[in-house]
Symmetry: C2
Subunit: 726 residues, 2 copies
């Protein structure tokens, strides 16, 4: 049934692709521009895949030699890694391939009216959404079906799948993020600030690179990222489910606790807990497709409102399907309804976090207006205001996160019979939290459809400008672009939240697996100084755990520094190149000389691939070094440390960045003097600072957290065995 | 002997005061300026004390009613709170009172040569340093002597002292930080950026407010802050020592473990562990005084090098005294030499962290130069470069911190005989880490002497400028001012590091105390679901601990947002006022009209006191709400969460801020075009952004961490008893 869900998603995306390809791609000029953007994007992804492909192969070989061979798992981890990695790259590619084709069609549709453009862009996003969730569900279900018995006896083999997905997603996120912002910041700094030409002006030599960047960063990067969230969260739930099932089976056999499970016996022993999350994923696909039908050509105004309604329709449908699944699968038991309640928590999180992101990033509310007002006293006060709005947004986001964890955990904990051993009840509680995360992610199809809006309309806007279409078209695409800015911020908050919930679930899987291994071997028990019956506790009172927490908390800060520095460095190169072209190529400003777009594309491409090495190595090497040197306690601390600081740094950056962007847009609407004033200039500078925050560093922290988690789980057996200092 | 150390420190500071007062305060014009700065600073502190005095009294009453009365501790916690708070306020006041008097004398001494000015400024700083460490040691020793037996039976009573010190220090840090940066940013934005007049130009209406700010922020705020670090670290060590002593006494009585303590028996049972940290503090005072003699009037060049040599002399002398103390007190035992080794770790930390801060904040090295170069493409790239330098500096700082914790911990752990129960060995390990922190802080006298350099020379510089002294004098004070910038950054790193180490030590005291209480009562054992022999573990696998970690990690982000916003808001008011004065008061620019300095002073004062409420309430209320609602597990998570994210946010802000400042100075030396170019303008804007990072938000995070720690320890008994949800 889950495979059927994946098939439906992929099939529906094919339908949407045909639908879009049938549409009019516009005038020859529009097609020409779209083609050069597509070629730039394709060229970048090709170069990127030739760089990261060999790295992935090396990792796969290492996994095979050091993990699969000694553990006699028939290459399952390696197969999972390759499957996860391949589909991650494919999800990114499909997302990008369709958005570059949709943008000129959206521009063309905008000539017929808002509803047409809205529907075209939404369907383009839908392809991406369905591909992401379809590939995710396909990867997890196919792997599960292939290795079911192995997964139940040794749940961590599935982690290879997550590691493959996350390592490729990180590569694509980081390099795409650097590419897009190097081009964007470079284009803006000279174009808008120095020369005073508008966004997407064809006289700007970096304009094609900027549009390519939207596709390789916002589409390919985001596609791989959310695919990864889906896969990693699914495997976290599956590992927890397998652990519960194993524990139940063990405690059921001879002793008195059998009765405690009562009617749950059959449920827990027959793998329902493993099947449930996959069905939730499938239900979200159906819900997303149905909700999407609300977006029609007839819509005349308030595109944001329409998208919100479509999302709410999907959420309600998902809830309705989920209750049927829960009550059917768990045979009307209390546990089934409790898990359904947790799924509802996850769905509510989507709506709540969307409200928080909207409040801090939309110019209808005080935070963004305070940034606009601070621009009146120059760029410095604009920077400070935007930075503090970003910082401030962390608090309500934290409240949503903390409540989601507490409520979903206790729902599960109290759903497990109180006569069960506490360790089993805790596992059920954590499983329940993971179900909330899974339910949140089940709406990925819809969320991604809404999100991919942003880059599609951004590109459509660029094409309208560059092709010199009539200004009424620009009004339509401008309105959609503003909507896209808000939905992009929302999706990032969605991705961060899911990363945090998944990380919590994965930590528990990690902890259980460490103890399963140690307690199975008397020599390991001795190595870790444990007496019979004792287990390793990840206590804050243990200096190794504390040190791990410090190192983990450091990572998002240090990792971000590379990304921001990379964007800054590449942007400076771009600025110098654009300045040079304005100076050396005669007639650019008059429109008689043609800028050398290819040179700008090359600067972004080279920088993005070169700057990938350091942060990627940091994410992969640190957990291995900490694990093998300081042991599983420090590594566990590292995992939690990275998520507790990482989520807030990520929220700060993505919300702050979007707020800066919309403060600028608010001024451009004519407030506080409007375009061309020093106030506007200050706001443009703030937006430039916010760009790498929201599109490079902030979202990459998600990938960092997930890579740390998955690599730790994959190498856990070797780490427990060979850790030096425990 | 510790009291004698305190007496020596205070006596020496009186000697320095007389020494300074004897010196020539300069021309009548200089005296006039210094007087108006002094009056402004005094007026601010008076208004501040009338605001925070009543708050402190209310807190004292609450502590008496809810802590001392029910626990029958004879008002010890309340007395400690009041003593700690009073001396905190006094340390701030003394520091400020002497620096406002030293600055005009430093300016006058600068007319006689670099060595004279250096010595005067250094002695002014010395008063502050000696006062801070003298009051700190006085508070701790006096309280210890008054309540020795109570402290041994119930160590947490001493926490009141730390809470008093930290709550007042937080008030002074936050309000002083807002004051100084509102004035500074406001003055710079109009003066330097819009009107193009130099720093400290008397035509700038905010110039007096700016100079007052240096005194109330950098002197009074820093004085209270470091005094607090000293007190809080001391009490952390004392609590740990008392816990070890109590444990040893308990395990020594009837059972076989007595022999395990071997020759340590007498050591551990006769309070040497409690006395040792106080003696370390006293040794640092002697070392600081002796090292200070290196700074003489005859010094002709390289003031930074001379200060570094003085610091190293102090460090060596401190080490030499410490080894005598250790070997004498611990009778030549292995434990004594091990603890000495930990003290050396603490002293090495001072030097290591100084090197890290210097590398990232001095223009002799690549990081600051990269910011200067990024200024060539405008404020946005300058901002991104500075931000990423700040982020990057977190990594080496983390390495120093992690190594210091691991090395000092294992030194202590292995110094305790292996036949001891593991819990006792862990406590000795943590005690050893706390000793490293104490040794670090023992050099406070010297570090503060060097630090207070910054504001004194900054003010001296201002007086030179405003009084229109000859430009050769300005060269001397300029050179000293640049040195002051570096030493200020170093001291902040020193304070952050000590806060982190103290927080780790306090967490262990917290954990032990929670368990002591719970295990002493069968009803509490039942409430916390513990079986006989079990203790409460602060495990990462517990959702309450995790939730606490998230909330704790959030706090520094959210807290900073208020401070940065407050500075931004107040600076905007200041900018508008300065702009208004330039427009409305005729002849300001020509020097014929006199600006209304008092109005600017009033804006800063009002803003600083008004904006204090929210962040201060956040710091005080959050731990109580989390503690009473979610119990000690969540509160323990909160304490660790706040330190693991807080240190890196603080390092990022203080190092980044100083790097921005020195990037500007580097350009002002004539590099990349020098003053008056757009490159310089961009660097000035970056400096303006960095100001509230390095002088308001960054250092206030220290105070936040310590307030969270001390309030949690003070209320721990009530929280364990009445927590709702555990």
């Amino acid at each position: 049934m889950a495979l059927a869900g994946a098939a439906i998603a992929l099939l529906y995306s094919v339908v949407l692709i045909f639908n879009i390809r049938r549409q009019d791609p516009g005038t020859p000029k529009m097609v020409e521009i779209a083609t050069s953007v597509r070629q730039g994007a394709n060229a970048f992804l090709r170069r990127e895949y030739t760089v990261i492909g060999p790295v992935a192969v090396v990792i796969a070989v290492l996994i095979y030699v050091f993990i699969d061979l000694p553990q006699k798992t028939n290459g399952a981890t390696t197969v999972g890694f390759m499957l996860g990695a391949f589909l991650s790259a494919l999800a990114g590619y499909v997302g990008m391939a369709i958005t570059v084709r949709t943008s000129s069609r959206t521009a063309q549709a905008a000539r017929k009216g808002l509803g047409n453009a809205l529907t075209t862009a939404f369907h383009g996003g839908g392809v991406m959404g369905m591909a992401v969730v379809g590939f995710g569900l396909l990867a997890v279900s196919a792997f599960y079906l292939s290795y079911e018995s192995l997964i139940i006896s040794k749940p961590v083999v599935i982690a290879g799948l997550g590691f493959g997905a996350s390592v490729i997603a990180m590569f694509m996120r980081v390099s795409g993020g650097i590419y897009t912002k190097a081009a964007d910041v470079g284009a803006d700094l000279v174009g808008k600030t120095e020369v005073g030409i508008p966004e997407d002006d064809p006289r700007n030599p970096a304009v094609i690179a900027d549009n390519v960047g939207d596709n390789v960063g916002d589409c390919a990067g985001m596609g791989a990222d959310v695919y990864e969230s889906f896969v990693v969260t699914s495997i976290a739930v599956l590992i927890l489910a397998a652990l519960i099932t194993a524990k139940a089976a063990a405690s059921l056999s001879p002793n008195t606790e059998a009765s405690a499970f009562g009617s749950l016996t059959s449920i827990i022993t027959s793998n329902q807990l493993l099947v449930y999350p996959l069905l939730l994923g499938a239900s979200g696909i159906i819900a997303s497709i149905l909700g999407g039908f609300y977006i029609r050509k007839g819509i005349k105004k308030d595109p944001m409102g329409s998208l919100n309604i479509a999302l709410i329709i999907s959420a309600v449908i998902a809830g309705a399907i989920d209750i049927v699944i829960s009550s059917y699968l768990f045979k009307g038991s209390y546990l089934g309804y409790s898990l359904f309640a947790s799924a509802v928590v996850g769905i509510v999180v989507v709506v709540a976090i969307e409200r928080v992101a909207d409040y801090f990033t939309s110019y209808r509310y005080p935070p963004v207006r305070s940034i606009a007002e601070a621009s009146q006293t120059g760029p410095s006060t604009n920077f400070l205001a935007g930075f503090s709005v970003g910082l401030q947004s962390t608090a309500p986001s934290a409240v949503v996160l903390v409540l989601a964890i507490l409520i979903s955990y206790y729902i599960g904990y109290y759903a497990a019979p109180s006569s069960l051993p506490d360790s089993s009840r805790i596992l059920v509680g954590i499983y329940s939290t993971a179900i909330a995360a899974m339910a949140e992610l089940s709406l990925t199809g819809m969320i991604m459809s809404i999100d991919s809006f942003g880059p599609i309309t951004d590109n459509a806007n660029g094409i309208v400008e560059m092709a010199g279409l009539e200004s009424s078209v620009r009004e339509v695409t401008d309105e959609l672009d503003a909507v896209g800015n808000t939905t992009k911020a929302t999706t990032k908050a969605f991705a961060i939240m899911s990363a945090a919930l998944a990380a919590v679930a994965i930590f528990f899987a990690f902890q259980s697996e460490v103890n399963n291994q140690i307690t199975a071997s008397t020599s390991l028990m001795a190595k870790y100084g444990l007496l019979p019956g004792q287990t390793l506790t990840f206590s804050l009172g243990d200096p190794l755990v504390l040190v791990g927490l410090f190192i983990g908390s450091l990572l998002p800060f240090f990792f971000s520094s590379f990304l921001i520095q990379a964007v800054g460095r590449a942007a400076i190169k771009m600025v110098n190149e654009v300045r040079r072209q304005f100076k050396e190529i005669p007639g650019i400003m008059e429109g008689t000389g043609k800028p050398d777009y290819a040179k700008a594309v090359d600067i972004s491409t080279t920088a993005a691939l070169k700057e990938l090495a350091k942060p990627a190595s940091l994410a992969i090497v640190t957990p291995l070094v900490v694990g093998f040197a300081l042991g599983p306690l420090a590594l566990g601390g590292l995992l939690i440390g990275s998520v507790v600081s990482g989520v807030f740094l990520a929220f700060m950056m993505t919300n702050g960045g979007a707020a800066w962007d919309n403060a600028k847009k608010y001024i451009e609407l004519g407030n506080l003097g409007g375009k061309g004033t020093p106030v506007h200039a200050a706001a443009v500078m703030g937006d430039t600072v916010g760009d790498p925050f929201k599109d490079t560093a902030g979202p990459s922290i998600n990938s960092l957290i997930k890579v740390l988690n998955t690599i730790s789980i994959v190498f856990i057996t070797a780490i427990v065995m060979y850790a030096l200092f425990v």
